[in-house]
């Protein structure tokens, strides 16, 4: 499996990563090598094998729909890069 520069640009955009142009070639080579390793899976016939959903075959536990946590917004927002009046601030999205 070989990825080229345009594949890396597309993947980096999906992953919301700003990749420096000089690093693209290196990432293309590294990711292609990793996908070559992964390609060993192709040799296995998995027809009819149920994909694993949980390593111990446990099902998702649900909790009762009751309030269990109290409001700690101030504590949590104390570590935010930028807040105002209890809101997280980001650059303007809509003009």
């Amino acid at each position: 499996m070989s990825l080229d520069a345009s594949d890396i640009e597309k993947i980096a955009h999906l992953a919301r990563l700003e990749i420096a142009p000089e690093s693209i070639e290196r990432y293309a080579a590294d990711l292609s090598n990793i996908l070559d390793l992964v390609a060993q899976m192709d040799a296995v016939d998995t027809t009819g094998v149920e994909p694993m959903a949980h390593p111990l075959h446990m099902s998702q536990r649900l909790r009762p729909d009751r309030v269990s946590e109290h409001d700690r917004r101030e504590l949590f927002q104390a570590i935010a890069p930028l807040t105002e009046d209890g809101l997280y601030l980001v650059p303007k999205v809509i003009d």
């Binding site: 999906l14 990563l17 094998v49 570590i79």
Partner: protein, 484 residues
């Protein structure tokens, strides 16, 4: 003082042979003097450690001390600690002080343990050499030019160098067992779900598990007794009763059935490591164990499967680091997309970005069946291999890592070569099973680990099997030169 077992320290603290404040000062002094050679700590919390030690001394004096009262430990910097920075080895979280304690941290604190600080690690636990840390590599105390293993490399080096009595770690594909092997200490990765993941920064949620790095199985049992157990705050926490691990340490192992997977002794294994592991298995035979060859035919596929499943889950888990609510934020973002992209590119190192991109790719439209679904099918086959093996044997043994510690920098330019370090440890995580590494005879002065794998929730058996070996051998007592 630093060579005593945890049980002995606990007993002497209760007899007031020394106080926890004295013991804590002793370790803090060792860290200040010796850690500059290792870089095993990201944060040292002297003030809060001494305050906790004073509380432990008071609790001991008043007779209501917990089992680990006054014992100085360290936490891998992946566990959230209120009041001490939790960086996860990343620039992304260099400014992050968690507003709460992880369950594992909370439970060990409730048992009276004193937290000396937070240990270095591969960034977001992604690595096998501790070289991907934003805070620089950790040096192996047995040879400063070599890696300690990873991702819990700081915990492993700190325990081996006697800079703390024991440390926590996490293991997603070998991150407790492989550094334990390379640093000559004892490490246990419990069954998936045995210890709570709450407050433990997520890498690959279907594989991550907290565990212990210690100088012996007995010490590891002391910590695991406090850490293990159901936690309603972790939706994948196992609601399964926890036995007393210390109680089971001395159980007889005569008649123990040991399986040796032929796939773990083939090409790629350093013959000197193989010889050391075989000698350890002979010791088990002298202790009355019965050995037979078994096969885990799908285990050679565990590395390829892991490098689909783990990156896929990591790309999803690490999507939360967006520069908005906490963590690194870039300067002067021109719009929201720029804020996301530059904050993430500046905050994450190269290995983390590689894995996020692999994960994004395998989960992208049109590729899901060929990669993620296929990997989860083979994962089922790998787990079935273990299930078949455990019909015939009680534990599985083999090497933890294919070689001893390699030189710093040796594999940093070749991600795939780095990934193959975990060839013997990853299958256990894929199947959700518990695994240990204990030191056996070193090769040319460098530690070698014997891996012991058990069936689900058999931690007590693993610790017992490891302890009986350590009862008749001395490999676990060896201290690296300069750190005795």
């Amino acid at each position: 003082m630093q060579n005593k077992s945890i049980a002995q320290m606990a007993a002497e603290l209760r007899l007031r042979t020394y106080s926890s404040v004295e013991l804590t000062r002793h370790y803090l002094e060792r860290i200040a003097r010796l850690d500059p050679r290792l870089n095993s700590f990201i944060s040292v919390a002297s003030e809060s450690a001494l305050a906790a030690a004073e509380r432990a001394d008071r609790a001991i004096a008043s007779g209501d001390a917990g089992p680990l009262a006054g014992i100085p430990i360290a936490h891998k910097d992946i566990f959230c600690t209120a009041g001490i920075k939790t960086s996860c080895g990343s620039r992304m979280l260099d400014n992050f002080v968690a507003p709460y304690d992880a369950t594992v941290v909370e439970r060990l604190a409730a048992a009276g343990a004193v937290v000396l600080g937070k240990t270095n690690m591969d960034e977001f636990a992604m690595g096998s050499s501790n070289e991907t840390s934003f805070y620089g590599p950790v040096h192996n105390p047995w040879d400063a030019d070599r890696v300690p293993g990873g991702s819990s490399g700081g915990s492993a080096a700190a325990v081996a160098a006697r800079l703390c009595a024991a440390a926590t770690g996490t293991d997603t594909g070998g991150s407790i067992r492989q550094p334990a092997a390379l640093c000559g200490i004892t490490g246990i990765k419990p069954t998936y779900g045995r210890c709570s993941r709450w407050g433990m920064i997520a890498f690959a949620s279907s594989l991550d598990q907290a565990g212990v790095l210690a100088r012996s199985a007995a010490d590891a049992a002391c910590l695991l007794d406090e850490m293990a157990g159901f936690d309603p705050r972790d939706s994948t926490s196992a609601d399964v009763a926890v036995p007393d691990y210390v109680d089971a340490l001395d159980d007889d192992i005569a008649g123990l059935r040991i399986g040796l997977p032929k796939e773990y002794f083939g090409e790629g294994l350093d013959p000197r490591v193989a010889a050391s592991v075989q000698d350890a298995i002979k010791e088990y035979e002298r202790l009355g164990a019965k050995v037979k060859e078994i096969s885990l035919p799908n285990s050679p596929l565990s590395v390829p499967v892991y490098y689909v499943v783990a990156p896929a889950e990591c790309s999803s888990n690490l999507a939360r680091f967006d520069g908005v609510r906490y963590g690194h934020r870039c300067e002067n973002p021109k719009d929201l997309e720029d804020l996301y992209k530059r904050s993430r590119a500046e905050g994450f190192g190269a290995e983390v970005q590689r894995r996020i991109m692999i994960g994004t790719y395998v989960l992208s439209a049109g590729y899901y069946d060929a990669y993620y679904l296929k990997a989860q099918q083979i994962r089922q086959l790998i787990a079935a291999d273990f299930a078949r093996a455990f019909e015939e044997v009680d534990v599985i043994m083999g090497p933890t890592a294919p070689t001893t510690a390699f030189p710093l920098g040796a594999k940093m330019d070749d991600p795939v070569a780095m990934y193959l370090n975990d060839i013997y440890t990853i299958a256990t995580n894929l199947a959700g099973l518990p695994g240990m590494s204990i030191p056996v005879e070193p090769v040319e002065g460098l530690p070698v680990g014997l891996q012991i794998i058990g069936n689900a929730f058999q931690e007590a058996r693993l610790l017992n099997v490891a302890h009986r070996f350590q009862h008749v051998t001395h490999w676990h007592q060896g201290a690296p030169s300069g750190f005795e």
